[in-house]
């Protein structure tokens, strides 16, 4: 028998990666179901009710099977190589974010000491993937979607990064685990409530900007169905389309999870006595709540226009983030 000891790390990593992919898929499935249910109830209807009996819980499975066995269509005039490659890039970009999400103190893919920075960095892949998809489809609407998306994601990365810097400054580290550990012991220790109102503003800016980052309403311009048909994935169908879809829900989870981590105390319960409930439940609960808010907003608000989107980013979020950053910096220096 081979001694497993030296390879334990490796095995754990492999298991974790497989687990994360499974989790992402399951979450995406659950989220599509949740999205329909949320939309349904907001719109005074029930959403899927038939498949699987209880509140249509099997609907996402049915959808997944349908998407898997659907004909895979590649337009004749598309740039086939790039067309095929693009969904993977987008998906990988989304998946890579999961590596540093601390589900619990010891349940994290890799506690990188540059955790927050890493997440911001890997989102770049998504931009490239979307540009690639838009171009390769050889469809003008896709192209518009891709251009809008790239412009939007690059612009909104700045307020996102600046807002994330605030808890980083307060914690003095970029490691996800350490940031969470600094927020232990009750919700009043969470970064969102410390240094009021700066960190609260940072949280709000982060949340809105992250909506734009993941192309969700009211910032869903790249895939605005009434303007651009379906934006950059107009020409995609079947499983390739499903990968974009999966990536979108994965991204929703990632940005919400980061918000939960750096602002909302990660795996810690709001009250210390509730810490008997395992951390991952708190973590996923907080994240799921933020995901729910994203859906809530989507089914309530109209969509912005391109120039308004840019206006909001460069003339509102950015100055506020900078001012915020300066003030928090001052606060940290004076206190420390």
């Amino acid at each position: 028998m081979i001694a497993l000891e030296p390879y334990l790390d490796l095995i754990i990593s492999v298991v974790y990666v497989v687990g994360i992919v499974l989790f992402l898929s399951l979450f995406a499935l659950f989220a599509t179901w949740l999205e329909r249910k949320v939309a349904g109830h907001i719109q005074d209807r029930l959403g899927p009710m038939e498949t699987g009996g209880w509140h249509g819980w099997l609907q996402p499975i049915a959808d997944a099977i349908k998407l898997l066995i659907k004909e895979d269509i590649i337009p004749a005039a598309a740039d086939k190589k790039l067309f095929k490659l693009a969904p993977y890039l987008v998906f990988i970009g989304s998946l890579a974010g999961f590596a540093v999400l601390p589900f619990a103190a010891n349940l994290i893919g890799s506690d990188l000491n540059i955790g927050v920075y890493y997440v911001i960095a890997v989102t770049s892949l998504v931009v490239i993937g979307i540009l690639m998809a838009g171009w390769a489809s050889n469809n003008k609407w896709s192209m518009y979607g891709a251009m809008r998306s790239a412009a939007q994601m690059i612009s909104y990365e700045i307020p996102v990064a600046l807002s994330l810097l605030i808890p980083v400054m307060m914690a003095g580290t970029m490691s996800m685990v350490e940031i969470v550990d600094n927020q232990a012991g009750g919700f009043w220790n969470w970064y969102v409530f410390r240094t009021m109102p700066f960190s609260l503003i940072a949280f709000v800016i982060y949340f809105w900007a992250s909506l734009a980052e993941v192309n969700r309403a009211p910032f869903d311009l790249p895939e605005a169905e009434s303007e651009l048909v379906a934006g950059y994935f107009t020409e995609y169908s079947g499983i390739r389309w499903a990968m974009f879809f999966l990536a979108e829900y994965g991204d929703m989870f990632v940005v919400s999870a980061i918000a939960a981590t750096v602002f909302l105390g990660g795996w810690y319960a709001p009250f210390p006595f509730l810490d008997i409930i395992p951390g991952p439940i708190w973590f996923i609960g907080k994240t799921a709540f933020l995901v729910f808010v994203q859906m809530w907003l989507r089914w309530t608000l109209p969509r912005l226009r391109v120039d308004q989107l840019m206006y909001v980013c460069w003339k509102i979020f950015l100055p506020f983030s900078f001012a915020n950053l300066l003030l928090v910096g001052l606060w940290v220096v004076l206190k420390g």
Binding site: A121, S124, I154
Partner: protein
């Protein structure tokens, strides 16, 4: 043993990825395919930085080069290319002429590589971010500030150039 092998395999994978996609960048006839191939080159380099325990540098590589510069390049190609006409011919009939500087430069690099004294260090696991930050704000403060000044000037210049001129506005 297996671990070592795996590490080696990943390393060589990254090397092949970097060099291979770099070759695609140079030799592909479609400028857009070259631009997208550059993505893999940059990612490969980022991976190599990880091997050097320079994780901050690796993330920066992704953020700045992939998220910023590569996107810019792709945008540039999009804007110069006609949307209707997807292929952009890139003429390569000066290949042999190009060989001369390539060989010259290659020779110099090879010479430097050979003559340099390489210190093998043990891989660090300590975070590099803090050191980087400290060094940027102490030892290398002046170059850091000069670089930021340069970037600021470039930004202002770009805005100035991009703004419509007064005369254009009037008519």
């Amino acid at each position: 043993m297996i671990l070592h092998f795996l590490t080696q395999a990943v390393f060589w994978f990254l090397v092949i990825l970097t060099v291979g996609s770099a070759i695609v960048v140079v030799f592909n006839k479609r400028i857009l395919h070259s631009a997208f191939a550059l993505l893999f080159t940059l990612c490969g380099v980022a991976g190599l930085y990880v091997f050097l325990s320079a994780d901050f540098l690796a993330a920066s590589q992704m953020l700045v080069y992939v998220g910023g510069i590569l996107t810019l390049i792709i945008f540039g190609v999009f804007l110069t290319a006609r949307m209707y006409n997807m292929s952009i011919p890139e003429q390569t009939h000066q290949r042999f002429l190009a060989l001369l500087p390539v060989l010259g430069l290659g020779g110099i690099i090879f010479y430097v590589l050979n003559s340099a004294e390489w210190h093998l260090i043990t891989p660090m696991v300590a975070p590099t971010t803090e050191n980087l930050g400290k060094m940027l704000l102490t030892t290398y403060l002046v170059p850091f500030e000069v670089a930021s000044m340069l970037l600021l000037a470039a930004l202002i210049g770009a805005i100035r150039l991009a703004r419509p001129r007064k005369e254009d506005h009037d008519d």
